[in-house]
C-alpha cells in the first residue's frame, strides 16, 4: 500500500515528463556564422600543433598545454588549440576550467563541433539539458554526418529528456552514420525504446 501511495505522489510530479513524448517544441538551433577568416598556419605552426596533439594523446599534458599556449600567442584564432586545452583540463579533473576555454574556442570558430559536443556534455552533467540539446543540435546542423553527435543526442533524449521518438531518430542516424562496432547495441536500444512508445 505504502509503495502504491508513494508512486501516486511521485507520479504526479513526473507525469508531465512521461506523457510529454515528442510534444515538446524544440527551438531550431541557431547556427552561428563564422565571420572570421580561417587562420593560415605556417609549416612550423602546423608541426607544432600536431606535436601538441600528440602530446595530449600521450597524456603529456603540461607539454601539450605549453605548446598550445605558444601557438595561441602566435595564432590567437586557433579554436582547436582552445578545445585541446579544455580536454587537458578535463583529463586533469578540472572541469570548472572547461567552459571558459570552450567559449573561447567558439568565439574563434563558432562552428567548432568538438567545442559544441564538449559544452553539451558539461551542460548535461549539470542538468542543463536544454542547453545541452541546443549545443548538440547546432553541431548536428553544422555537421549532419557527425555520428557521435547523433549518438549524444540519442542519449540526451533517451535518458534525460525522455523523448523517445527523438532518441530513436538520432540513434538511427548514428547507426547509419557510424562505423563503430556498437551499432548493433544501439539498434537494441532502439528496439527497447520502440517498446516504450
Amino acid at each position: 500500500m505504502s509503495l502504491i501511495r508513494l508512486c501516486i505522489v511521485l507520479l504526479c510530479a513526473v507525469l508531465a515528463a512521461c506523457s510529454g513524448g515528442n510534444k515538446r517544441i524544440v527551438k531550431a538551433p541557431e547556427v552561428p556564422i563564422n565571420t572570421h577568416p580561417v587562420p593560415v598556419l605556417t609549416a612550423a605552426q602546423q608541426t607544432a600543433f600536431q606535436n601538441a596533439v600528440a602530446a595530449v594523446a600521450a597524456q603529456q599534458y603540461s607539454e601539450a598545454e605549453a605548446a598550445f599556449r605558444n601557438l595561441l600567442a602566435e595564432q590567437p584564432r586557433l579554436a582547436g588549440a582552445y578545445v585541446n586545452l579544455a580536454l587537458i583540463a578535463r583529463a586533469r579533473g578540472d572541469s570548472a576550467a572547461m567552459p571558459a576555454l570552450l567559449d573561447k574556442a567558439l568565439e574563434m570558430n563558432p562552428q567548432n563541433i568538438d567545442a559544441l559536443e564538449l559544452h553539451a556534455h558539461l551542460a548535461q552533467t549539470e542538468g542543463r539539458f536544454s542547453q545541452a540539446e541546443q549545443y548538440l543540435l547546432q553541431a548536428a546542423s553544422i555537421a549532419p554526418d557527425a555520428a557521435r553527435v547523433h549518438y549524444s543526442l540519442g542519449v540526451l533524449y533517451e535518458l534525460y529528456l525522455q523523448e523517445y521518438e527523438r532518441a530513436i531518430s538520432h540513434y538511427e542516424q548514428y547507426v547509419e552514420l557510424s562505423d563503430e562496432e556498437d551499432t548493433n547495441t544501439v539498434q537494441r536500444w532502439i528496439k527497447l525504446l520502440e517498446r516504450k512508445i
Partner: protein, 939 residues
C-alpha cells in the same frame, strides 16, 4: 497860470531878441571883408579884425572884451541907429557865447526904453518912413514892454490895418492876441489866434496859435473846443502819434507838447476825466494820443496828490486799452498812486488785477512778443511775490485765529501765486522755494493730498534748493498722515508713498532721514512679504553712514529675515551674525534661533550627504543652546550614515543620546546606532544595542527582529554559544514569529550538528513538530527545512536497517527487518509528503535503496547448514523469488526519480538513481558518453 505867464513872457522876449538879431544880420555889409583904410563911421562899420592869412590864429581878443566895448558904445552913443546896432550886437554875442553877466548885458527895461526912444526919434526924423510897419511893430513891442498893453494893442491894430501885407502882420496879430489874452479878453484873443491860423502863411505861428486858442477857449469854459484845439496842436508833432512819451521830440519841441498835454489834462479834469478823453477821441476819429492824454491826466492828478483820481484814470486806460502793450504801465501807475496815497486795500487789489490782467495766463501776455514779455515780467514777478507772501501770511493769521473759512481760500490764493511766480520765471533759482511755500500753504490748510503733489514737485522736479529735502520729507510725512484716515487712503497712494520714499532716498542719499525712511520701507516690504525688495531696501540702510544704531539694527534684522525667506540661507547666516553683533540681550535668544535655522536650512540644501552632515554639525557648534541642536544632531547622523561615515555617525548618535536621552528620536537614534555599528563592523556593539532596543520595542515584530538580529551578529562575530542562547530565547519568546523561529531552529540544528550532534535530533524533532503544528501558515522555506529535518531523522534509521542481519531462523530476522523497513518507509514517505522536490527525490531514493538492500540481504542471508546441494539450490531459487519483487520495486522507485530529469531536477538523488539504474539495468540505463578525446583540427 503863473508858469504859463512866465512862459509867455519868455517867449515874447525871445521873439523880440530874434527879431533884433535878424535885423542886425541883414544890415551888416560884407562881414568878412577887411577894409583897413576906412575908419568906422557907425556901429555898422565896426568890423571884427581878421587876418589876411586864414590859416593863422585868430587875434587874442576875448569875447568879453568885445562885449564890454559894445556895452560902452551902447551907453555913450548919441545916434539911435548906433545904439540899436550896439544892442543888437550885445544880444547876439550874449546868445552865441552864453555870457549873461550884468556887466556884459543890458538891462531889459533899459533896452526897451532905449529902443522906444531911438524909434521915436527915427519916426520923428522921418528918415525911416519907408519902414513904418517895422517901426509900429517895434514901438508896440516897446510899449508893451514898459507895461502899456492897450497902447501896444493900438499900435499893432494900426500896423495890421495900415500894412496888411507887411511881413510883420502875423507877428503883430499874435502879439495882439497875446496882449488880449493877458488882459483877459479871451474871446478876442481866441479870435485873433484863429485868424493867425486861418490867414498866416507862416507855420511858425500856427501851432502856438492853436495852443493859445485852446487856452483862450478853455478860459471861456468852452472845453470840447479847447480840447480839440489842443489835440490839433499835437498834430504838428507826428512823432507823438501813438507815442507814450514826448521824449521822442526835440527838446525845444517838448515844452509846447508838454504844455499842450497839460492843457488837455486840465480840460479833462474839468469834464468827466477818462470819459471825456474818449469823447474827444471820437470827435477826432482816432486814438493816437490816448496814452499821452491818459498819462497827462494821470500825472495831473498825481501832482495834486489826488491819488484816487489818478489811479482811476490809469486803471481806465488799462481797462479800455487792454490790447495795448503799454496798458501795463498804466496799471503800474495806478498801483503807484494807491501806494502813494496809502490806499492799501486798493493797492493790493490793483496788484491782483495786474497779475490777472497782465500775468502769464492772460490773453494780454499771449499777445506779447518776447521782448515785450521781458518788460512786463519783472513787474508781474514782483507783485506775484508780494501777493503770494501776503496770502500766506493771511492764511497763517487765519490759522492762528481759527478762521476756518479763510484758511483754505487764502491757502489756495497763496498756492496760486507761488506757482504762477515759479511759472512766470521758470529759470529762477527761487522756484523751488516758491513751490515749497505753495505746498506748505496747502498743507497747513489741511489739503494734504494736494500738498504732497507740490512737495514732491519742489523736492524732485525743481532745480536743487535748500528746502528740497525738507519738502521731500514733508511729502512722505503727509502720506503717513493720509494713511491714518482709511477713507482717504488707497492702494494707489500707498504705491505713491513708496515711490516718494524711494525718490527721497535717491535724491537725498546723504540725508540723515534717508536711513530712517528706508528702514520703515524695508520693514513694510518685509511685512508685505516682498522679500527681495525688503532685502534690497534694508541693505541700503545698513550701508548708510548716517543710520542711527537702532535703525541700522532694525534693517539688519530685515536683511537677515528676508534672506532667510528667500532661502538664501548662507547669506542669512552671515546677516544674523551681523545682527547679533548689534542685538540687545532681549533679542539675542530669538536671533540665535534664526541663526541656527539658517545653518540648518543650508544643510538641507547642501549638494551631498557629507556636506549636509557638516552643516548640521555646524548648527551644533555655532549655536549649541539652540532648539535646533537635537534636530541637527539627528539629521547630521542620518547624513553621515548616508555618506557611510560610520565612526562619525556613531559619535554623533552617541552625542545625541548623551544630550537628549529622553528625546522622541531616541529610539530611532538607537536603531541608527545599530546600523552604524553594523556597517562599521562593530557587530557586538550592534548586537548589544539591538538587545537594548528589543526591551523598549512595544511591537513584538520589532522586538523579536532585534533579538534575532542580535543573535545573527553574535554568530557573525564568532560567538556561537551566545548566538544560540539568543536563538533559543527567540524560539521561546516569540513563537509567533514563524519564519524566524523556523530559521532559529535551523541555526540550532546546524550548530548542534557541529558541536553537539547528539542533541541535533532533538532540535530537528522540535522543528518538525513546530512546523507541523502550524501547517496552515507554513511557508515553502519552512516546509523545506522541515522536510530536510525529517529526512535527516529518517536517515538515522538507515544504518540500523542495514545492521539487521538476516540470519537463521530467517523468519524472525526477516520479520524484524521488514518491520524496520516498514517503519523507515513510513518516515521517508512523510518526507515525500512535504512535496519538496529535493527531499522527495532523496526519500524516494532511500526507499528504493531499502528495497534493493532487502532484496540483496535476502540473497545474502544465512543458509541453513543442513541443506543438501539440491536443497540449497532450491533454497536459493526460493530466496530469489522472495527477493525479486523487492528488486523490481526498487527499480520502479529509481525510475520514478530519474523521471524527474526532463523537468530539470537533476540533483544528487536523481543522479544517484541514474547510477543505480545503470548498475541494475545497464541495457536500459548504461550509456557511455562518446566525446572527442583529442581535437585534431587546429581550427
Amino acid at each position: 497860470m503863473t508858469r504859463l505867464a512866465s512862459l509867455m513872457t519868455n517867449t515874447m522876449f525871445a521873439l523880440l531878441l530874434a527879431f533884433a538879431l535878424a535885423q542886425s544880420v541883414l544890415a551888416e555889409p560884407l562881414p568878412f571883408m577887411i577894409e583897413v583904410n576906412n575908419e568906422p563911421q557907425t556901429i555898422g562899420d565896426i568890423k571884427p579884425a581878421f587876418l589876411v592869412y586864414r590859416n593863422e590864429e585868430l587875434p587874442k581878443v576875448s569875447v568879453e572884451y568885445v562885449m564890454k566895448r559894445y556895452v560902452k558904445l551902447f551907453e555913450n552913443a548919441e545916434s539911435p541907429d548906433v545904439k540899436v546896432d550896439a544892442l543888437n550886437r550885445i544880444n547876439n554875442l550874449s546868445a552865441k557865447y552864453g555870457l549873461s553877466s550884468k556887466k556884459l548885458t543890458i538891462d531889459k527895461v533899459k533896452q526897451s526904453e532905449a529902443v522906444l526912444e531911438s524909434y521915436e526919434k527915427i519916426v520923428d526924423s522921418g528918415v525911416f518912413y519907408q519902414r513904418m510897419d517895422e517901426l509900429l511893430y517895434q514901438t508896440a513891442k516897446a510899449t508893451l514892454f514898459i507895461g502899456n498893453r492897450e497902447e501896444s494893442i493900438k499900435r499893432l491894430k494900426l500896423l495890421v490895418g495900415l500894412y496888411p501885407r507887411s511881413a510883420l502882420v502875423d507877428e503883430a496879430r499874435f502879439r495882439m492876441a497875446e496882449a488880449m489874452f493877458e488882459i483877459g479878453e479871451y474871446a478876442d484873443a481866441a479870435a485873433q489866434y484863429k485868424k493867425i491860423i486861418a490867414f498866416s502863411e507862416d507855420d511858425a505861428f500856427h501851432k502856438l496859435a492853436k495852443f493859445k486858442a485852446g487856452w483862450a477857449l478853455f478860459r471861456e469854459s468852452r472845453y470840447p473846443e479847447a480840447a480839440k484845439l489842443a489835440a490839433e496842436t499835437l498834430d504838428y508833432y507826428p512823432a507823438l502819434r501813438r507815442a507814450t512819451s514826448i521824449t521822442t521830440l526835440d527838446e525845444s519841441e517838448q515844452e509846447l507838447a508838454e504844455d499842450t498835454l497839460r492843457l488837455l489834462a486840465i480840460v479833462f479834469s474839468k469834464q468827466e476825466n477818462a470819459a471825456s478823453i474818449e469823447t474827444l477821441q471820437s470827435t477826432l476819429a482816432h486814438r493816437d494820443y490816448a496814452f499821452l492824454m491818459y498819462d497827462a491826466l494821470f500825472r495831473f492828478y498825481l501832482a495834486q496828490d489826488r491819488y484816487e483820481e489818478s489811479a482811476s484814470v490809469a486803471l481806465a486806460y488799462a481797462r479800455e486799452y487792454s490790447d495795448d502793450f503799454h496798458a501795463y504801465r498804466m496799471a503800474l501807475n495806478a498801483i503807484r498812486s494807491y501806494h502813494e496815497g496809502e490806499f492799501d486795500i486798493r493797492e493790493w487789489q490793483a496788484k491782483e488785477d495786474f497779475v490777472a490782467r497782465f500775468g502769464i495766463h492772460s490773453a494780454y501776455w499771449a499777445g506779447l512778443d518776447t521782448a515785450q514779455q521781458e518788460q512786463v515780467r519783472p513787474h508781474t514777478l514782483g507783485y506775484l511775490s508780494e501777493l503770494a507772501h501776503l496770502y500766506y501770511i493771511r492764511m497763517q493769521t487765519a490759522l492762528d485765529q481759527g478762521n476756518r473759512e479763510h484758511i483754505d481760500a487764502h491757502s489756495q490764493r497763496a498756492r496760486d501765486y507761488y506757482l504762477e511766480l515759479a511759472e512766470t520765471d521758470p529759470d529762477s533759482d527761487q522756484n523751488g522755494r516758491h513751490v515749497f511755500l505753495a505746498a506748505e500753504a496747502r498743507h497747513r490748510a489741511n489739503a494734504i493730498q494736494e500738498s504732497i503733489t507740490l512737495y514732491e514737485r519742489t523736492a524732485y522736479a525743481e532745480a536743487p534748493h535748500a528746502d528740497a529735502a525738507t519738502a521731500g520729507y514733508a511729502a512722505i510725512r503727509s502720506y503717513d498722515k493720509l494713511s491714518q484716515n482709511s477713507a482717504l487712503w488707497s492702494s494707489q497712494l500707498a504705491v505713491a508713498r513708496v515711490n516718494s520714499i524711494e525718490s527721497f532716498a535717491e535724491r537725498f542719499q546723504s540725508d540723515a532721514r534717508t536711513p530712517d525712511l528706508l528702514n520703515v520701507l524695508a520693514n513694510e516690504r518685509f511685512d508685505a512679504q516682498q522679500w527681495a525688495e525688503a532685502l534690497a531696501t534694508a541693505q541700503r540702510v545698513v550701508a548708510h553712514d548716517k543710520a542711527k544704531p537702532a535703525v541700522r539694527y532694525a534693517s539688519a534684522l530685515v536683511v537677515a529675515h528676508s534672506l532667510f525667506e528667500l532661502a538664501r540661507f548662507n547669506e542669512a547666516e552671515g546677516a544674523y551674525q551681523a545682527a547679533l553683533a548689534m542685538a540687545t540681550s532681549k533679542d539675542r535668544g530669538a536671533l540665535q534661533e534664526r541663526l541656527a535655522a539658517s545653518i540648518y536650512r543650508q544643510a538641507e540644501q547642501a549638494p551631498d550627504a557629507m556636506a549636509q552632515a557638516e552643516l548640521y554639525l555646524k548648527v551644533v557648534d555655532t549655536v549649541p543652546e539652540s532648539s535646533f541642536v537635537a534636530e541637527a544632531l539627528y539629521a547630521a547622523s542620518a547624513q553621515l550614515l548616508a555618506a557611510e561615515a560610520w565612526p562619525r555617525a556613531i559619535a554623533t548618535l552617541n552625542l545625541f543620546t548623551t544630550r537628549f536621552p529622553n528625546h522622541d528620536y531616541q529610539r530611532d537614534v538607537d536603531e541608527k546606532l545599530v546600523y552604524a555599528y553594523q556597517n562599521n563592523g562593530d557587530h557586538v556593539a550592534a548586537a548589544d544595542q539591538l538587545l537594548v532596543l528589543a526591551k523598549v520595542y512595544e511591537d513584538p515584530d520589532q522586538a523579536s527582529a532585534a533579538v534575532y538580529q542580535a543573535a545573527e551578529y553574535y554568530e557573525l562575530e564568532g560567538l556561537p554559544a551566545e548566538a544560540m542562547g539568543l536563538y533559543g530565547r527567540f524560539i521561546d519568546q516569540y513563537p509567533e514569529q514563524f519564519d524566524l523561529v523556523i530559521e532559529a531552529y535551523d541555526k540550532q540544528i546546524a550548530y548542534h550538528d557541529r558541536y553537539y550532534p547528539k542533541q541535533a535530533a532533538d532540535w530537528r524533532e522540535r522543528l518538525v513538530a513546530y512546523e507541523s503544528a502550524r501547517a496552515g501558515t507554513t511557508t515553502p522555506r519552512a516546509r523545506s527545512l522541515a522536510a530536510k529535518a525529517r529526512l535527516a531523522l529518517a536517515e538515522q534509521g538507515l544504518e540500523t536497517f542495514s545492521a539487521i542481519r538476516l540470519q537463521l531462523p530467517l523468519k524472525q530476522s526477516l520479520t524484524r527487518k521488514k518491520q524496520a523497513l516498514k517503519s523507515l518507509v513510513a518516515e521517508l514517505e512523510q518526507v515525500a509528503e512535504y512535496g519538496v522536490a529535493e527531499y522527495s527525490a532523496a526519500a524516494t531514493h532511500h526507499i528504493a535503496s531499502l528495497y534493493r538492500q532487502l532484496a540483496r540481504d535476502l540473497m545474502d542471508s544465512e543458509r541453513p547448514p543442513e541443506l543438501t546441494a539440491l536443497q540449497q539450490e532450491q533454497y536459493d531459487i526460493l530466496l530469489e523469488e522472495q527477493a525479486y519483487p523487492f528488486e523490481e520495486q526498487a527499480m520502479d522507485l529509481y525510475r520514478l526519480n530519474v523521471a524527474r530529469a526532463p523537468e530539470g531536477q537533476y540533483d544528487e538523488w536523481v543522479q544517484k538513481s541514474f547510477l543505480v539504474l545503470a548498475e541494475m539495468n545497464p541495457t536500459e540505463y548504461l550509456r557511455a558518453p562518446k566525446l572527442p578525446e583529442i581535437s585534431r583540427e587546429p581550427y
